[in-house]
Amino acid sequence: MFREWFDKAAAMTDWPVIGLIVFVGLFLLVVVGVIAGRRDQDQIDHMATLPLADDAETASTERGTRE
């Protein structure tokens, strides 16, 4: 059934073209979304600095505690 559907739907060589168009279209959507889409700058800064935020953690060992 699927074979017939595929044979009817498109020649096999069309699939790469479909893939390419879909990719380029989606890529452009992502780029436009990222560049032109509104995003709270504070939120971006917060996310970007997230790895640095855990520097305030407390490490304790049998020898003592380090802030």
Partner: protein, 789 residues
């Protein structure tokens, strides 16, 4: 209305599991690199195979690759993920039990691989060699890891997921898909199975997996680790968070398509090859975007490069990432692949990534992590610096040797004289010419290994002088975000993307009217998208919402990686049924006009037994079975290989490297005696060869009793053995073995007809041509001995 005060709580991280994975990674890293040094020695000095079947190159090389990828880098990934995940989510690992289950079963899997691979228990698919019971254990472990990972996300105290976690998510979902599909097989015993795919389909699925094992096991989790640990080490946030969004989505979407670049100029359909090449070239953009995002994170802190060994390792690692991701697409261009494929250039490319990117990211991370996990200072910065410089020198020696060797081999083997014939017809000359470069590679690999031993020493000394730290942090408990799956999946970007996919399908799948409709649809969607940007400005960012909704994020990542796989694999699976139809007419085609029609017929029982021995010994590691359509290849090896010839080959044995010559047309090229002597002592027939000896095959008895069971499984896969074939398999195999033994006896060589060597000779003599006489079935034999009318 009165606002409620934020609730805070203390979170104690589970770093014990991180410590365990760190130690495992360092230990197995040394083991994996040691095996690498051993196999590099074997390529320079064949005596290093020790004349033992368990230590031959064909069996140790998969052990080296599996140890390096899954034991060293795998454990490093889990250490890096478990440490950063808890901190980025401000939550303890959801289940300590699942964490330890993950750790111990994973180490058992590694030990299982270390035992089974030297024993020759293998599926022979590169980086997927492990036998089916171990594969099942891997699936169980991966599920445990995924459950613990997503459960921890569900308990998080940070609203949005940081970019590192996006890469971890893509790793988890993609590896699950790849690993399961590529390892689909039917067992014939506890230690053996046949893949359900055959020939071209098997090759495409394998390299879809193989390429994306590099992409989603050796790249995306390491990029996640880069996005967390590099800012930590530099003390600066990532250069561009916006760029990381583009980097992530474009990388995971493109990467999955690029697998066919491992099969350029093979019997894979041309459209799939072209698709693989195009997407590989497109990978340049996101890869370099990610590399630059990493390097520029160090803006304003480049002085640390002089003083901090962690930064040194990270920066050189990211630089090697850039070099490898430049070289990979370059090698994927068909004309470059024509030269570089099957040569040492690929080995150099792989090791630039493995030693430079993966190895240095691992050591950079451990140099940063271990002092914090043991609450102390690094035992010796000076020795870490020595590790860095000796390791870097080792990488350079290694890759430069392989570049020169690879390009030389490519040029040497394709050289034609003025009359258009091979200038260097003897393959072995190219190998001999590479000998010095193989020794140079050995020196480079040895330097890298020794520097890693030194690094391991520094890390273990650091652990010894410190004390295990328990880390806690006060966090504000996260309130429910209120976002729903439906809310996100009906967001404008999803709707536009769906419209784009549908319209593209309509454009290409229908006639003029449909195309006009699709073009009009594209225009409407474009205008709507442009208008929606204005609307978007007044609302919350959609991607911001996605980052806060892990389920939606995971579903979208899964869709992004599935599209490429489906577009490549489904059409080819459809194609397979056509090949089978063609193969069903094999008898008539075979005898048509008395011409050789290259239509594959199933292997005889003895040939099948010989094929399994070929697989067990890892012959595919050094020998391809794929003659590419180039004059220099057809002159050297014979007619180029065609897809239909592999219809009953499972697992496929196309190989990816030619340390020895291609074997697809070796059948009938040499006498049985030549093969007998060659397997006993390769240098007796091919002076200068570095192939191990296979004397054990002469005395070992082939497992002919297993043949009916194996053939029964192959029938399920689509190989047309009938009941009589299966019932008489053992007898037919013995009969064919006697023909070989009798032939050898005429030349004063005694070989048991049921020996493994007889079976292997039968298989090799069958390669590239039709059925051979078995001495049992006149009807079948008649096909091979067809009389030219």
């Amino acid at each position: 209305m009165q606002a409620t005060a934020p609730v805070t709580k203390k979170v104690v991280y589970n770093d014990e599991i991180v410590r365990a994975f760190s130690i495992a990674s360092i230990v197995f890293g040394i083991v994996g690199m040691l095996v690498g040094v051993i196999v590099a020695t074997q390529l320079s000095f064949w005596q290093a195979n020790l004349g033992l079947q368990w230590t031959s190159f064909g069996r140790l090389r998969p052990l080296h690759t599996n140890a390096a990828i899954f034991a060293f880098v795998g454990n490093m990934i889990f250490a890096g993920v478990y440490y950063s995940l808890q901190r980025l989510l401000k939550a303890r690992l959801a289940s300590d039990f699942l964490g330890w289950f993950h750790f111990w079963v994973y180490q058992l899997i590694i030990v299982g691989a270390a035992v089974t691979l030297p024993l020759g228990l293998t599926q022979s698919k590169e980086y997927a060699e492990l036998i089916w019971p171990i594969d099942l254990a891997v699936v169980v472990v991966w599920v445990a890891f995924a459950v613990n990972f997503f459960w921890t996300i569900a308990r998080r105290n940070e609203r949005n997921l940081y970019v590192a976690i996006w890469f971890y998510i893509s790793t988890i979902v993609t590896i699950a898909v790849l690993y399961i599909v590529n390892n689909l097989s039917i067992p014939t015993s506890l230690t053996h199975s046949y893949p359900i795919f055959t020939g071209v389909q098997d090759a495409l699925v394998q390299w879809w997996y193989g390429h994306n094992a590099v992409a989603f096991f050796l790249t995306t989790p390491i990029l996640g680790i880069m996005y967390y640990y590099l800012p930590k080490a530099a003390g600066r946030p990532v250069y561009s968070y916006r760029l990381s969004i583009v980097h992530f989505w474009s990388l995971i979407f493109i990467y999955i398509w690029a697998g066919p670049h491992h099969l350029l100029y093979t019997a894979l359909p041309d459209w799939a090859q072209t698709l693989g090449m195009i997407f590989s070239v497109m990978l340049w953009a996101p890869s370099w975007g990610g590399m630059l995002n990493g390097l520029l994170t160090l803006r304003g802190a480049w002085d640390k490069l002089r003083t901090d060994p962690v930064i040194k390792f990270f920066i050189v690692a990211v630089t090697f990432y850039g070099m490898s991701t430049f070289e990979g697409p370059l090698l994927s261009v068909k004309s470059v692949s024509a030269l570089g494929h099957y040569t040492d250039w690929i080995i150099g490319h792989v090791h630039g990534g493995a030693l430079g990117w993966n190895g240095f990211m691992a050591f950079g991370m451990f140099y940063w992590l271990v002092p914090r996990l043991w609450n102390t200072e690094l035992a010796s910065k000076r020795l870490a610096e020595v590790h860095f410089w000796v390791g870097t020198l080792g990488i350079l020696l290694y890759v430069v040797a392989m570049w020169i060797s690879g390009v030389s081999q490519g040029l040497y083997l394709r050289a034609l004289d003025a009359e258009g014939f091979l200038k260097y017809p003897d393959f072995i000359e190219a190998l001999i010419a590479s000998r010095f470069l193989y020794q140079m590679r050995l020196v480079g690999g040895l330097a890298y290994f020794l520097s890693s031993v030194l690094g391991a020493g520094v890390l273990f000394a650091t652990m010894a002088k410190g004390k295990k730290a328990t880390v806690s942090v006060d966090v504000t408990v996260l309130k429910p975000t209120g976002l729903t799956f439906r809310q996100i999946m009906t967001g404008a970007p999803v709707l536009y993307s769906t419209a784009l996919v549908v319209l593209t399908c309509i454009l290409l799948a229908t006639g003029t009217l449909g195309s006009a409709f699709a073009v009009a649809g594209f225009a409407v969607v474009t205008i709507a998208a442009a208008l929606s940007i204005g609307v978007e400005k007044t609302r919350k960012s959609w991607h911001d919402m996605v980052e806060a909704h892990p389920l939606s994020f995971t579903v979208l990542a899964l869709l992004a990686i599935l599209i490429g796989g489906l577009v490549e694999i489904i059409p080819l699976t459809m194609d397979r049924t056509k090949e089978q139809d063609l193969a069903a007419q094999a008898d008539s085609l075979w005898t048509e006009g008395g011409q050789y029609a290259f239509i594959q017929m199933p292997y005889s029982p003895l040939e099948l037994a010989g094929r399994d021995i070929y697989v067990r010994e890892g012959c595919y590691v050094c020998h391809s079975q794929m003659v590419r359509p180039f004059r220099h290849e057809t002159l050297r090896y014979g007619e180029y290989s065609r897809a239909a010839e592999f219809i009953y080959d499972t697992p496929f044995q196309w190989g990816s490297k030619r340390t020895g010559p291609d074997l697809h047309r070796v059948g009938g090229r040499y006498a049985n005696l030549w093969h007998y002597l060659h397997m006993r002592d390769p240098r007796s027939t091919s002076p200068g060869s570095n192939m191990p000896t296979y004397m054990h095959l002469e005395t070992a008895t082939a497992d002919l009793a297993a043949l009916p069971g194996k053939m029964g499984v192959l029938v399920k896969i689509g190989v047309p053995y009938d009941e009589a074939d299966i019932a008489g398999a053992e007898e037919t195999a013995l009969s064919q073995g006697r023909l070989i033994a009798d032939d050898l006896a005429q030349q004063d060589v005694e070989l048991a007809p049921d020996s493994e060597l007889a079976a292997l000779i039968a298989y090799l003599q069958r390669l590239g041509r039709g059925p051979q006489p078995t001495g049992m079935e006149p009807a079948a034999d008649a096909v091979a001995a067809v009389e030219v009318q």
